[in-house]
Assembly symmetry: C2
Homo-oligomer: 239 residues x 2
DNA sequence: GTCTATATCTGGATAGAC
DNA sequence: GTCTATCCAGATATAGAC
């Protein structure tokens, strides 16, 4: 699947995401009209992610946020009750989204190799659509309070389990070699994360998401799949 | 090489490192006696890394640092002139060290495959010895001022070039497949970094550095090396 | 060289006018 | 619902005693 196709398919525009969040947190938000609340949330989240990804969340002052979002201090505090709550809201924003999309995309694919390819692709495409959020989430996890931190770690382990699961299945039906599923899933995750953590690198080298997805699948594939004498090397090219 | 052997060999005790730094920054440090200055630097750096890795550098107050280091506010300011300078000093601390050790360890190894193994191992062992610094450096790069940030990025690209170089050599002498050296080096780096960025994960799973090094080499090797019919699969085990 | 005390500023949060 | 003005906790940095 092309990235553009994916982008349209999972129509998670910023508004949609924020509307969902607004509905989930109705009680805690003082604004009553949906239109206004969602509009403000969008502006705040976008600005907060931008500033945080430049200098870190804790170095971002709320005054700074208010000017970048084009709202006053008072207006900010109608959407959240403390800077810490804003952090929690931001984290929650992406987590459920990621799991939902990832699972829906690989559900029902029988061929393990194909499933692996699709999982890699989906994770990369997702992190491309929501790049600021992924980066933010990675960098700020350690600044959450204990229980929120735990949820973030669970989310990381959850996606890892998805990959480990595919590998285990592949080993069971004999198409994959006897690699360590957990270790392999761990490094796959590391390579997936590099895509959104080092945008400056891949962007600068003009590597597209599609190209990175193909490349990454090649690396993984050549490690886990049992070599068929003649097949080896046919999928070794990229770009 | 075993990790313990490596640890003794590169005898970079905290004191040694700080002494070097002290000598390099004599002018800017008010304390004149080497013994005292180095002792304080060690305490300060150790405490600063510990706190920063818990909550982030910008969230660390100097009061906090002074108590954790067992020094007064006044004493801190005899070692650096501002919080920002402390950040720069910390960053500089590890960079040169890494390059020096990494290059010295792989210098003069003719066999490309062996060289790759050694480079992976050395990088992992280094990041194990200096874990707090590696983690810190990764997380705080974006908070540096422009020119310091540039140096940090150069350092990242430098180690990446080391790996890309080995791959290019291996392709040239015909032992490696025609993979993309830059892309491959990039994901190798990503997997190396995962080791110190996700200590909670690997520590919790009781994975040792040696095991991770072997595993990682297997993954890389199976991707870049041309398969000899009979050889494939012989180095696919780990643990 | 190291300490305590303090000047000065910045940032999170809120009250009350519009 | 949004804005401005303000409170005050806590941060950096320094002065001066020991």
């Amino acid at each position: 699947m092309k990235f553009e196709t994916f982008k349209k398919m999972v129509s998670l525009s910023r508004e949609d995401i924020c509307r969902e969040l607004f509905l989930a947190h109705r009680e805690r938000i003082k604004i009553k009209k949906e239109r206004v609340a969602v509009g403000n949330l969008v502006k705040i989240f976008e600005a907060a992610l931008a500033i945080s990804n430049r200098k870190g969340f804790s170095a971002m002052s709320l005054r700074e946020l208010s000017t970048e979002a084009g709202l006053s201090m008072g207006a900010l505090y109608t959407c959240f009750s403390s800077k810490e709550e804003l952090l929690d809201l931001l984290q929650k924003l992406g987590r459920t989204m990621v799991m939902k999309v990832l699972l829906s995309q690989i559900d029902g694919i029988a061929d393990r190799r194909e499933k692996m390819k699709r999982a890699i692709q989906t994770h990369l495409y997702l992190s491309e659509v929501m790049q600021p959020w992924f980066y933010f989430s990675y960098m700020e996890t350690k600044n959450l309070k204990k229980d929120e931190q735990k949820k973030a770690i669970e989310a990381e382990l959850f996606t890892e389990k998805v990959f480990a699961g595919i590998i285990t299945e592949g080993i069971a039906d004999g198409r994959f070699r006897h690699v360590d599923p957990d270790m392999t899933a761990a490094v796959i995750k590391a390579m997936l994360q590099d895509w959104y953590l080092k945008q400056w690198k891949y962007g600068g080298r003009r590597v597209t998401v599609e190209a990175y997805a193909r490349f990454l699948f090649d690396v993984v594939d050549s490690y886990i799949v049992k070599p068929l004498k003649s097949k080896r090397g046919t999928h070794g090219r990229h770009r």
